[in-house]
């Protein structure tokens, strides 16, 4: 019997050995591959066991917060977004299943408290038995400007079936003051703890056209139209230092293009200026004469136009934490007629509302373009700053002398009777001095019969140090002056009133 017992003991030993080997294999060797399996929800759910930090505007409005979800919640905390559709381009959303966008995505490490910068603090919280909380992320957004921007876009675009976006920047720092997109969505629906509801909401959003999930402020690429004349003018003045805003330039009613039978007309086949075939640059800019700038463009050449465009930030991926920005582009045309079209923001030129804001921002800041940024700083639960973004120069777009000419011309657009923005500006109550450039771009994407895209880039105040630069693009909105400019101005007014300069 004892011999058999010893054999049984041996069998038992083998069984335990197998168990030990298997758990060793699972927990020491397989642990990583198990944790990273796509169906494994534990990792993403782990984050919701810690109270995620708030997202705030620069003026202290909380736009995303996590609150205890109470006894019936699957997770400990529930994410809430206030004014969801208004702020969704900024906050993005954070689902409990690992999908994130916007600041929720770019600052996820800080918000969830897992970032390197928070390691020491987490450790201290642990030993002092304090509940761990993610860092509060403060954006550069101004709540008043943001509200005005969304309201403006919604008033123009509601029911139109088109989309539009707006970006407002502080020209001297690059802070993004407003970033609105239409159509928008409510991120609260995607933050639900109920997977069925999240899926339903997600599918409903996916089914809409245009998609509310696209951040039009930074991702929608539309032709910049006449706003690109800022770049053409810059290139011209930089090349010809003897020229200024009051220099005269060829401004025919119809520009005959070489190598083709096509001709370049002005809008509505209008004559430029007095019909003499010549006009000052400031006049041609204010009236937005396509013939003048098409002609200048052919003289400057595609390569030089491209290098100037790149100084304004085009053709370069915009690497801004918190936004997934599309790259605005200017490509060198292979023939003079196409160069003429490219100089007036047509051909294959594309820009985002962010790029439009950067045009005005560079001009407003004496020719120096600041790098746009969305995240101001992150503060830990004890209010100590764990990360902050300093302003940075992106590029020296034009010299201050050249910039002075551009400022005069952009002011003329709004304030001279021939200016495309004059009619609108005349009715503009409040007497705010605004500089800007309208754009009304034919967009083949909209179909032949539909209205052109409305574009407007501007800054204010034009009579003292500019505080805000705004770019707006409304797909199928019609004239830049009528569809886009009022929104930009309402944002500028809201912001300047908020900072005490209205």
């Amino acid at each position: 019997m004892d011999r058999a017992l010893k054999r049984v003991t041996l069998a038992i030993l083998v069984m335990f050995l197998l168990l030990l080997l298997n758990t060793n294999y699972l927990q020491a060797f397989e642990a990583n591959s198990l944790t990273t399996k796509p169906e494994n929800d534990r990792a993403s759910a782990e984050q919701s066991q810690i109270q995620r930090g708030d997202i705030k505007t620069s003026d202290g409005v909380t736009i995303a917060a996590s609150k205890p979800s109470g006894p019936n919640g699957t997770y400990k905390y529930q994410r809430y977004y206030s004014d969801g559709p208004v702020y969704s381009p900024v906050t993005g959303y954070d689902t409990l299943y690992g999908t994130q966008t916007g600041v929720e995505n770019s600052e996820s490490d800080l918000l969830s408290g897992s970032g390197q910068q928070l390691a020491l603090r987490n450790f201290l919280d642990q030993i002092t038995n304090k509940a761990q909380k993610g860092a509060t992320v403060q954006t550069t957004i101004n709540s008043k400007a943001q509200q005005a921007a969304y309201k403006g876009l919604a008033s123009v675009l509601q029911g139109s079936g088109h989309s539009g976006g707006l970006v407002a920047m502080d020209p001297s720092t690059g802070k993004i003051l407003a970033m609105a997109s239409y159509p928008s969505y409510n991120p609260n629906a995607l933050a639900s703890q109920n997977g069925v509801e999240v899926n339903k909401a997600d599918q409903a959003l996916q089914a809409q056209n245009p998609s509310p999930l696209i951040n039009n402020a930074t991702s929608a690429l539309l032709p910049p139209g006449s706003t690109f004349k800022i770049v053409t003018s810059s290139a011209w003045f930089t090349e010809h230092s003897d020229q200024n805003a009051n220099s005269e330039a060829q401004s025919p009613t119809v520009l005959t293009l070489p190598q083709t039978t096509d001709k370049l007309h002005n809008d509505q086949n209008e004559q430029c200026g007095d019909g003499s075939g010549k006009a000052t640059l400031i006049y041609a800019f204010a009236q937005s004469c396509d013939t003048t700038f098409g002609n200048l463009g052919m003289q400057i050449g595609g390569t030089n136009l491209q290098s100037e465009a790149e100084k304004f930030g085009m053709n370069k991926p915009m690497d801004v934490p918190g936004l997934s920005a599309a790259t605005s582009s200017y490509s060198v045309p292979n023939s003079p007629p196409l160069t003429a079209f490219s100089a007036i923001g047509q051909f294959s030129d594309t820009a985002t509302p962010l790029q439009e804001a950067m045009f005005a921002s560079a001009v407003a800041n004496n020719g120096t373009l600041m790098r746009p940024y969305l995240v101001q700083q992150a503060t830990a639960s004890d209010l100590s700053v764990v990360q902050s973004t300093p302003p940075q120069v992106l590029s020296a777009a034009v010299s201050p002398t050249v910039d002075n000419n551009l400022k005069q011309m952009m002011t003329a657009v709004m304030q001279q009777p021939e200016g495309t923005g004059y009619q609108f500006n005349k009715n503009n109550e409040g007497g705010l001095a605004i500089a800007g450039k309208t754009g009304t771009a034919q967009n083949a994407m909209n179909g032949v019969s539909s209205a052109p895209d409305a574009v407007f880039t501007s800054y204010a105040p034009a009579d003292s140090t500019p505080k805000i630069a705004v770019g707006v693009m409304i797909q199928g909105g019609g004239y830049g002056a009528t569809a886009a400019a009022p929104i930009a101005v309402s944002v500028e007014k809201a912001y300047l009133a908020a900072v005490g300069q209205g």
Partner: protein
């Protein structure tokens, strides 16, 4: 040893309370005190009624029982227990069904079951002074065992997750009678085999180098096999039938020392098991999810529990998330069948290995008792019970860590559930009594018979 067990368990409780920061210490203190009192009572009972018993058996069992209570406490404090699995299929978005909740009444119940288990141990030690007393009721025990096994098939409304292993008694909750049945059957086997071991081990002829038993002696093993297969067919319970067959085969092997019994037993079980896997859908599914756990369909359906358990083990890694730091509630039934994955997640590889070693130590003490004890009935019983415990740990831990196909049997001492805990304590009671007998010093001679004559070898 008892103090160590109390210390470890108290530490586990405090750890949970600290990790889940919002929880108070009020209920914690009560639980730790109750546990300490229970531990001291068991210690005194054993000192009084089984003074020579193995000093490790009871503290080890108490330690496991306490860790199980701490895990239950931890799940209750988190407000969640194992989620019942996906209630819908939704790839890529969510797998979460409604969250079931354990309440503090489950904690009280588990303490009550612990107390009942301790009470059973006490009663057993007081009334069963001599293990051989149990040998008298071989056939009665056998009958009781079979009845207990068969009970769920006839009891109304007993099917849980495809297997019929529970009976629900109104007002008392549900219990698994097989937990007691296997103890009765172990006693019955021991009695029967001791009586028949000579004929079973000697008679028969030799074929191909193997001593085959006589055809008529195959009766009992056939009967057990049939019973096992009936278990499989009517209760769809692979785990219990494997443990049950393993118990019988190991005991017949220990009793006879004949390899042929081993071959016949294992062979018959394999034949039965494989045909069951092919014929009974519920059993077949268990095999298929074992082989293909992570296929997109399985991972959301039948293999959800297994996969979640494995994720838990993976999340724990070597050192674990700390007691109260993981998310064991993802795994359905983490408070009972899959409790080891909960420990794997929170205590890590180190914790799981420690728990396995504790089981290993209990088994080793049981086997040591079997070797030490003189009388064949006790030897057989101790060996059989030890092997059964080892097999049960192997089947459930191996099942939930994907070493072998998953089967729903309980984890002794650690799992929530009354029958398993009480049954495990009765098993410890039997082992304590056996080891007490084995280690009891020989009675002192009544008269002084004088010194034995010393023979000089020079």
């Amino acid at each position: 040893m008892i103090a160590l067990a109390i210390g470890v368990v108290a530490f586990a409780f405090v750890n949970v309370a600290l990790s889940l920061k919002d929880q108070g210490f009020g209920s914690l203190a009560i639980y730790v005190v109750i546990y300490a009192v229970i531990s001291v009572i068991v210690h005194l009972v054993v000192r009084r009624w089984a003074p020579y018993a193995d000093p490790l058996l009871v503290p080890l069992a108490l330690l496991l029982n306490g860790l199980g209570l701490a895990m239950l406490y931890r799940l209750i404090q988190a407000g969640r227990n194992g989620n019942p699995g996906p209630t819908y299929t939704n790839h890529g978005v969510s797998h979460i069904g409604p969250i079931g909740t354990l309440t503090s009444s489950d904690m009280s119940k588990q303490f009550l079951f612990t107390l009942v288990g301790i009470a059973c141990l006490t009663v057993f030690l007081i009334y069963v002074k001599e293990p051989r007393m149990m040998q008298r009721y071989t056939y009665l025990f056998g009958l009781i065992g079979v009845i207990l096994f068969a009970l769920p098939t006839v009891w109304p409304g007993s099917e849980v997750q495809g297997a019929k292993i529970q009976i629900t008694i109104p007002g008392l909750g549900s219990i698994q009678p097989a937990e007691f049945g296997k103890l009765f059957l172990a006693l019955s086997f021991a009695g029967y085999l001791v009586a028949k071991r000579d004929v079973l081990s000697l008679a028969g002829k030799r074929v191909l180098g193997i001593d085959l038993p006589r055809g008529r002696d195959l009766g009992p093993i056939m009967a057990m096999w049939v019973l096992t297969m009936l278990l499989l067919v009517f209760e769809s319970d692979i785990g219990t039938s494997a443990v049950f067959m393993g118990l019988f085969v190991s005991m017949i092997y220990i009793a006879t020392g004949r390899n042929s019994w081993l071959l016949i037993g294992v062979g018959m079980f394999l034949i039965g098991g494989i045909s069951a896997a092919l014929l009974i859908p519920h059993v077949g599914v268990r095999f298929s999810i074992w082989l293909n756990t992570f296929t997109p369909y399985n991972v959301d359906h039948n293999a959800y529990q297994l996969a979640q358990g494995l994720y838990g083990m993976g999340a724990g890694g070597v050192l674990g998330k700390g007691f109260g730091g993981g998310q064991p509630w993802w795994t359905p039934l983490v408070q009972s069948d899959f409790v080891i994955t909960g420990f794997g997640e929170e205590l890590g590889l180190v914790g799981v290995m420690a728990i396995l070693l504790i089981y290993g130590l209990i088994v080793q003490r049981g086997l040591r008792t079997a070797l030490m004890v003189k009388d064949p009935f006790s030897k057989l019983l101790a060996g059989g019970l030890s092997f059964m415990l080892a097999l049960q740990v192997f089947v459930i831990v191996g099942g939930s860590t994907r070493l072998i196909p998953e089967t729903g049997i309980t984890t002794p001492f650690l799992a929530q559930g009354g029958a398993s805990l009480i049954g495990s304590w009765i098993m410890i009671a039997i082992l304590v009594r056996l080891s007490d007998t084995a280690r009891r010093p020989a009675p002192k001679p009544i008269q002084d018979e004088g010194l034995t004559q010393v023979v000089s070898l020079k």
